[in-house]
Structure formats: C-alpha cells, structure tokens
C-alpha cells in the first residue's frame, strides 16, 4: 500500500457515514486531501462540515467507512493521528482563566516540549500571530479575533503537519478574517496541510487549492475553484420580480433555473453574451412577465454553491 508513505495523501476518506439516531449526517463521504495543500470543505449550515472535522480529528467515532489521516488508520492508531494534527474549532477552545502566555505554556507542556523549545516556540508564535500585547492578559478579556489568533497559536505550538480549521473566521470582523487568511497562507508556505471548513465562498476561493462542496452529507462537487466555476459555465442571469405571482409565471419558462422565493429572484444559467441575454428577454416577453431588475453574474463560487445546493433544495431532498 502506498497510503502510509509520507508522500501519500494527508487525508483519505472512503464511504464515511455518520448518523445521530434517525438523522443521517454523513451519507457515504469520499474525500482525498493531498499533502501540502489547502482543501476547503464548503457547505451550508447543517451540511455535516463540523461532524466531518470531528471525525477526522478523532473526536467522534465514524459509523462506517475507511479513514486514514497522515497515513494512519483513524480507528486503529488514534494517538498516531493525534500526534500529527492540530485542531482549531468553531469556538475558540482557550482556557479563559489563564493568560495568553499560560495557555501557550499549557499546550507546550502537553506536547512535552523542553523548556527551551517551549519558550522558543512561544516567542516565534507571539511574533508570527501578533500576540505580544495579549500574552499577559487573561484569555477571558480578549476580543473574538484575538482569541482566534491565540487559539491558532495553541494549535501550532506542537508543529502539526495537518491542521483542521473548522470555520476559522466565523464571527470575525473583516479585518481579523484577513489576518487569519494571511496566517493560513504562511502555514501552507511552510509545508503544512490545511483542511478548513467554511460557509464563506470567498474564503474558499481565496485560500483553497481544492474545494469540496458538501450538501446533505455527500460531496456534490469537488475540484479547484477554477474547475468548479467552469461547471457553471457562463455564470447566470439573475431576474428579480415584483411579486410572487410574476415569479410563479416566470419559473416554468426557464427550466434549470434556480429560484429564490424570499428574494423573488430566478437565476438563469447562461453567459453574459448579448445573444443569450436576448433569448432570456424574448422568453420573458412571450410569457408576458415583467421583470423588476436584471443583472448578469460572471461565475464565482456563489453560483457553484447555489447551483449545486439550491437544486437539491428544490427537489426537496435537502434536510
């Protein structure tokens, strides 16, 4: 087997399943994360992103399927997996009653670093993550963005080869988000593998080499951001209607379009060329429906996301 060699994938998942009682969370997930890359798991709330991270980081036992992390079988050698990974979860897991420095010391001690190595790593990380003015303060007094940076430093102190970031920027302001992105880029430049989950398409687009779109416990698409964008070739033409009646009339005219009842919009797949635009307008006229607003969207991951997850919603298969 080539799986356990250092050049094998960082994460290999085949047919992963997980259910809580009747509720199926992961329904046969297949996933491969090559070493030294950033992979993003993208999906709406409740798609199973956090459950996936919890399973891969040994927090939750899977119901079925094969999982190898850093070449080690997840169930057979959990401690070998734990020794190579670092996890920063959705909510910062820092010790509120300790100061920033004490939190880092705690993690250093748990990694059995020598005193010298521990203080060297602490100095490096304080520098790298801009934590100089918070090391002496109790963690409970830190702002959201600072806590997340401290959390990341705690994850990094043991030099993990694979880092899980579960929604690393959820709840952060735009500036803190960019700081975290910068840190992730530096990590990858140093050869670390990053597996992140996000519900922000921009984040996946900015950071990830590969994006997997998770919906209803299965991957509905996988590829580079560019490949995924090509899948919705030409992007879409978005029509907004004045009321639900107009939307109801227009929807059957455009099979394959994505409908949003709350926004009263219809996203019609198609490029921004004049000919396809004219085609849309002709059909609207034929159906005698008025349009309140029309806009042309060049493809971004939003389109991928909507196209892949929205259609399932229409079919009523999305939980």
């Amino acid at each position: 087997m080539t799986l356990s060699t250092p050049t094998g994938p960082a994460i290999e998942v085949v047919g992963l399943t997980k259910a809580y009682g009747d509720q199926v969370v992961l329904d046969g997930l297949d996933l491969t994360v090559p070493r030294g890359t950033v992979s993003a798991l993208l999906g709406p709330n409740g798609a199973g992103k956090t459950t996936t991270v919890q399973i891969l980081s040994t927090l939750l036992p899977p119901d079925g399927g094969l999982v190898r992390v850093l070449g080690h079988d997840l169930l057979g050698e959990p401690d070998a997996v734990r020794a190579g990974i670092g996890v920063t979860g959705q909510f910062s897991a820092v010790d509120d009653l300790l100061t920033g420095a004490e939190n880092l010391t705690l993690m250093g001690d748990l990694h059995h670093l020598s005193r010298g190595e521990r203080s060297r790593r602490t100095t490096e990380l304080v520098e790298q993550l801009d934590l100089a003015d918070v090391v002496g303060r109790p963690a409970s007094t830190l702002s959201g963005g600072t806590r997340r940076r401290l959390d990341l430093a705690m994850t990094l102190i043991g030099r993990p080869r694979l880092i899980f970031l579960d929604e690393p920027t959820t709840g952060l302001d735009p500036r803190s988000r960019r700081v975290v992105w910068g840190i992730v880029r530096e990590l990858v430049a140093s050869g670390v593998t990053v597996f992140l989950t996000t519900q922000y398409l921009e984040e996946a687009d900015q950071l990830a080499d590969r994006v997997a779109v998770l919906d209803g416990g299965r991957l509905v698409a996988e590829g580079t951001p560019a490949e995924l964008k090509r899948r919705v070739a030409g992007g879409s033409i978005r029509l907004r209607f004045a009321d639900a009646t107009a939307l109801d009339t227009a929807a059957p005219v455009f099979p394959g379009s994505v409908r949003d009842d709350r926004e009263l919009t219809l996203s019609v797949p198609g490029d921004g060329r004049v000919s396809s635009l004219r085609g849309v307008l002709d059909r609207l006229e034929l159906a005698a429906v008025g349009v309140a607003d029309l806009s042309v969207h060049t493809p971004d991951l939003d389109d991928v996301f909507l196209a892949l997850t929205g259609q399932r919603e229409q079919e009523g298969t999305l939980r």
Partner: protein, 263 residues
C-alpha cells in the same frame, strides 16, 4: 518517554492548570469553604444550646454539641466542595477546551485525574479551615497522633470517592447550571445521618435510612477516631463504602469521558 512517565507528566500539567484556576478564581473556593463555616457557626450558636441539651451527655449544652457536630460538618465540607468540582468540569466541557485536549496525543486519564487531584487539594484546604474554626469555637478533639492520621486518611478517601462522583456528575450534565444542581443531594445527605442529631431521635423510617446510609458509618468512625470510644465495624464499613462508591464513580466518569467527545 514511557507511557507511565508521559501520563505522570500530563497529569502534573493538568494539576498545575487546575491549581492555577483555583488561585485565579478564588471566589469559588471561598464560597465552597464559606458554606460549611456558616453552617458550623449556625449550628453551634443558634441551635447548639438546645440540641446539646438533647444529647443527654454529661456537660450538655453548646460545648458538647460542638464536639458532636465536628465529624458531620467535616463531611459536609467535602460534599460542598464536590459541587465545585462538578461545576469546573462542566465549565471545561462547555468552553471546548476538553475537546481540544481530546484531539491531542496526551494521556487520556490526565484530564480527569488532574481535576480530581486539584479538587482534593481544595477540599483538604477546606477541611483545615473548618477544623480551625471548629476548634476556635470550642471543639476539643481528644485524638492522639495515630488516630488523627487514620482520621485524615479516611477524610482523604471520602474526598477522592466524592470528587470522582462529582466529576462523573459534571460530565453527565448538559450545562454548567445543571452541573451545579446535580450534587445537591450530596449536600442534603449529611443532614439525614448521625452528623447533626443522633439517628434514634429521628422518626422511624427516617431513622432507618439515617442508620444505613453510607455517611453515617463515616461520621461515626470519624467521631470515634477524634473523640475516642469503640470503633466497632464503622471504620471498615466506611472504607468499604468509599472504595465501592469511588470505584463505581471512577468507572462511570471514565466511560462518560470516552463517550462524550464533543462540547
């Protein structure tokens, strides 16, 4: 590093963390120790005169009751501190830090053992304070050094058993609030024992319960150790209860820790 050495190192790290918490968050320790001190003063000065007269002993009154009360209030102190353990475990679970520990290659036992050792230190501190206050208000134990040593050993054993039990209760709780409620029964139990009044002064069924519940042999053993008198089987029964309850609680806590992985 061998497995045992690694486990010892990790447990020491976790114990340091827990002790640092106690220093950072002294109000919890103070309120946990304050409760038994208030009860001690309440029972000695408010109820003590009357209750002491009812004991039917030689001197009677407040002074005799203070001595009668001491073993029960020492046990009550352990129960009150156990509540703090459940709360701190639940706080750790809710903060997500335990989830972080579980993703790290550290000795699994170290998280809970560190808590138990730290809480035990906290409880023993409480025992010293309560004992000091009791002596200050007139308690006069007559025990010799060896009896004191056995009594201290019994207190330690009870503390370990009840601390493991409250760790399990904390792990079983859904929230910090329910964790602080769970051990309330523990605080009630000393009152339904021989700790505050002799069991034969209670109504029939309650007297039977008080006579047979585990805290009564512990209190009776402590009473005989501190004030002399025939130990009988009380010490053996007390140690038996502690070992049985402690081992069950330890196994329960370990199972819960293994099974409750996420926040």
């Amino acid at each position: 590093m061998t497995t045992l050495a690694a486990a010892t190192t990790d447990t020491a790290t976790m114990l340091r963390r827990r002790l640092r918490h106690l220093i950072r968050y002294p109000s919890l320790t103070i309120s946990l120790i304050g409760l038994p001190v208030v009860f001690l003063l309440l029972f000695v000065y408010v109820f003590g005169g009357t209750l002491g007269a009812g004991l039917g002993g030689g001197s009677g009154g407040r002074a005799e009751y203070t001595d009668y009360l001491l073993p029960g209030i020492l046990l009550f102190t352990i129960c009150a501190a156990a509540q703090g353990t459940a709360i701190s475990i639940a706080m750790d679970l809710n903060s997500g830090i335990i989830a972080r520990f579980r993703t790290m290659a550290i000795a699994r036992s170290s998280v809970l053992t560190g808590h138990v050792l730290g809480s035990t230190a906290q409880t023993l501190l409480g025992e010293v304070v309560v004992l000091g206050v009791a002596v200050a208000v007139g308690a006069r134990p007559t025990a010799g050094p060896s009896d004191w040593l056995v009594a201290a050993g019994l207190v330690l054993l009870v503390t370990l058993a009840l601390t493991w039990l409250s760790v399990a209760l904390g792990l079983a709780s859904k929230s910090v609030e329910s964790a602080s409620n769970a051990p309330q029964l523990l605080i009630l139990l000393p009152f339904l024992s021989s700790g505050f009044v002799p069991t034969d002064s209670l109504p029939g069924w309650m007297s039977w319960f008080a006579e047979h519940q585990p805290f009564t042999p512990v209190i009776e053993a402590l009473r005989h150790l501190l004030y002399g008198g025939p130990l009988g089987s009380d010490l053996a029964v007390a140690v038996g209860w502690c070992l049985a309850a402690g081992l069950l609680a330890w196994a329960w806590a370990r199972t819960l820790y293994a099974r409750r992985p996420v926040r």
